[in-house]
């Protein structure tokens, strides 16, 4: 491996497509992941057109129909078309996943940059708190938040679920971004901004943040998959997205998954959708990391 690292330039416009081409050539697996994500994204966006049935339409005459031309993925115990529910579920997963991952990563990045920039006892105190927070399993922390934050819905999106997913990400991201930011704060140009009398906020947001974009993006893609998995887990436990919203995790739980021992398709396809999407995000994130910064370990 060469010693000189050329980091792909993400900020210059017009280079976007050549960067995309470079990524496709160097990281075919990552590109495959990207295609999966794009597919799910389109399914979520155009659910009304893609789904052949109404996802919440109950039809007791068509209960537990195995996969067939009329119902590609069969129907569940209420006679609802599973394919349509999986398509609409993509909308829930994508919305919750994206918002939660972006909120969590951004807050984590702010904490990380702040910690690195302030240094001294502030940094020390924040890092000790993060140490402790990292000893809680993510789902445990998410469950704590679920227990405390009352169920709130805004534009049909469960805000409490998003908060429950985003908060456990903060310490993880803060740790990684801080170490990236530590290298930046010692640079002469940061001294220059101080000498120029810029406010702390301006230095942090205008001069340090743009330089931690690479680890930010890597963490974001890594956490997107986890956010979707976490949403599915919470919904599976009956603590996430609430009925009647079609959500993959919800389709695997409670009365929705009744009879799954005899009717495998009831649980097979929603679970496959979760796995495939998270797989896509992980593949993409993994390759993005290799492409952006091979030395960074997340």
């Amino acid at each position: 491996m060469s010693d000189v690292q050329t980091l792909p330039n993400l900020t210059r416009r017009g280079h976007f497509f050549s960067a995309l081409g470079d990524f496709f050539v160097k990281q075919p697996l990552g590109a495959a992941g990207g295609v999966v994500i794009l597919g799910m994204f389109l399914a979520a966006l155009f659910a009304e057109w893609v789904a052949p049935y109404n996802p919440t339409q109950i039809d007791f005459l068509a209960r537990l129909v195995p996969p067939s031309p009329a119902h590609v993925m069969g129907t569940d115990g209420f006679g609802r078309d599973i394919f349509s529910r999986v398509i609409y579920g993509a909308r829930t997963a994508m919305t919750v996943g994206f918002i939660a991952a972006i909120v969590g990563t951004s807050l984590g990045a702010i904490v990380g940059v702040f910690s690195a920039f302030m240094g001294g006892w502030v940094d020390l105190a924040i890092q000790r708190v993060i140490d402790v927070l990292l000893s809680f399993p993510i789902i445990v922390m998410a469950l704590i938040v679920v227990a405390i934050v009352p169920r709130t819905e805004l534009f049909g999106v469960d805000i409490n679920v998003i908060i429950a997913i985003a908060i456990p990400f903060i310490p993880k991201v803060a740790r990684v971004i801080r170490s990236a930011a530590l290298a930046i704060v010692t640079m002469p140009y940061i001294d220059a901004t101080r000498a120029a009398g810029f406010t702390k906020t301006r230095i942090m947001f205008r001069h340090i943040m743009p330089n931690v974009v690479a680890p930010y993006l890597i963490m974001l893609t890594a956490l997107l998959g986890q956010a979707i998995l976490l949403e599915a887990s919470l919904s599976f436990l009956g603590l996430g997205v609430s009925e009647p919203t079609p959500a993959w995790g919800l389709m695997l739980s409670g009365t929705n998954a009744d009879y799954y021992r005899e009717a495998w398709w009831v649980i097979f396809f929603p679970g496959l959708a979760i796995s495939l999407t998270v797989f896509g995000f992980n593949l993409f994130g993994d390759s993005l990391r290799d492409w952006l910064d091979p030395r960074l370990k997340v």
């Binding site: 809680f136 789902i139 227990a147 599976f236």
Partner: protein, 317 residues
């Protein structure tokens, strides 16, 4: 060595105190009134006086600092309080369920090691070949497949192909080891898949790193067979990071149990956790979080000690 272990133990204590402090404040700083949720639920009509009485009964009307002092002094005597839902002692409720969850956790750790070591080593040795790609896909898959779904698939598979299901009703290991293992191997596999994937990936990258070292070139130059180079020289040094990951991922394992126990109707601490959240039983949540975090800290302490045993350089630092 003795001193190293003592020093590490001493360092774990502030972390545990930190865990206790953060657990306490996490459950109180976040918005939402536990008593209101418990009594009013989804819009039940309960008078202010009844709410105040319940708060007084649970000691929630005390100043925050007094509550905190109660919590900390309770912890010092291993008293986790009583459950808000059942009224049983929290420590007792956890203690009767812990052995089951612990057994599944240990079983999946063993499975993870058995799966991860061959996979990780093969991927590293055959880097860039089809084997490496296949392992990469298997391991990335391990991070993507929800453990509870994997568990459900196993149940479906066992019924369809073998017309058999693990018996309901938990049998302790020492009563009937065969029956016990036939029950617990499936949940252990479902959560172990993810675990083994993470370890295999770590192992692959560290073996690759070690294979670049000068002493590996020396070993090869003096004619040591490639098999020996990997098995003796590379493996030994790649072992340490793999062990660290095993320790760190233990937290995920517990997380996996939280969702998987439900699938297999195992009455462990994961199921207890979910039920406590559903019932807003927050003294129980507090106790469970404390136990889980303590477990995590202790596991990592053990990893550190193991590390020092395996690598003398660490002891003398």
């Amino acid at each position: 060595m003795m001193w190293y272990v003592i020093r590490r133990f001493a360092l774990a204590i502030p972390t545990l105190i930190g865990v206790a402090i953060i657990t306490f404040f996490l459950l109180r700083v976040l918005p939402g009134d536990i008593v209101e949720i418990k009594l009013r639920g989804d819009g039940g009509d309960v008078s202010e006086a009844a709410l105040a009485a319940e708060r007084a009964r649970l000691g929630l009307d005390q100043p925050l600092l007094v509550q905190f002092a109660d919590w900390m002094t309770g912890l010092a005597t291993f008293d986790l309080g009583t459950s808000l839902w059942t009224g049983e002692r929290v420590a007792h409720e956890i203690a009767i369920r812990l052995p089951l969850s612990l057994e599944v956790a240990i079983l999946s750790t063993i499975l993870a090691i058995l799966i991860a070591f061959p996979l990780g080593t093969l991927a590293a040795v055959f880097r860039g070949t089809i084997i490496d790609y296949v392992v990469r896909i298997i391991t990335i898959g391990g991070l993507a497949v929800p453990p509870f779904w994997l568990g459900m698939l196993m149940i479906v598979g066992l019924i369809t192909w073998f017309d058999w299901l693990p018996a309901l009703g938990f049998v302790p290991l020492f009563t009937d080891p065969v029956k016990n293992l036939s029950q617990l191997i499936w949940p252990a596999l479902s959560v172990g898949y993810r675990y083994s994937s993470v370890v295999a990936r770590m192992l692959r990258s560290t073996i690759l790193e070690v294979l670049e070292e000068d002493y590996i070139r020396t070993a090869r130059a003096k004619g040591v067979t490639e098999r020996m180079v990997v098995a003796k020289h590379a493996m030994r040094n790649a072992l340490l990071p793999a062990i660290t990951v095993l320790g760190l991922e233990f937290a995920f394992l517990i997380g996996g149990l939280v969702v998987t126990e439900q699938v297999f109707s195992l009455n462990g601490i994961g199921l207890l956790f979910v039920e406590s959240v559903l019932h807003n039983d927050f003294t129980m949540i507090q106790g469970l979080v404390m136990v889980v975090a303590t477990g995590f800290v202790l596991i990592n302490l053990m990893v550190d000690v193991l590390y020092a045993l395996l690598d003398p350089r660490i002891r003398y630092e």
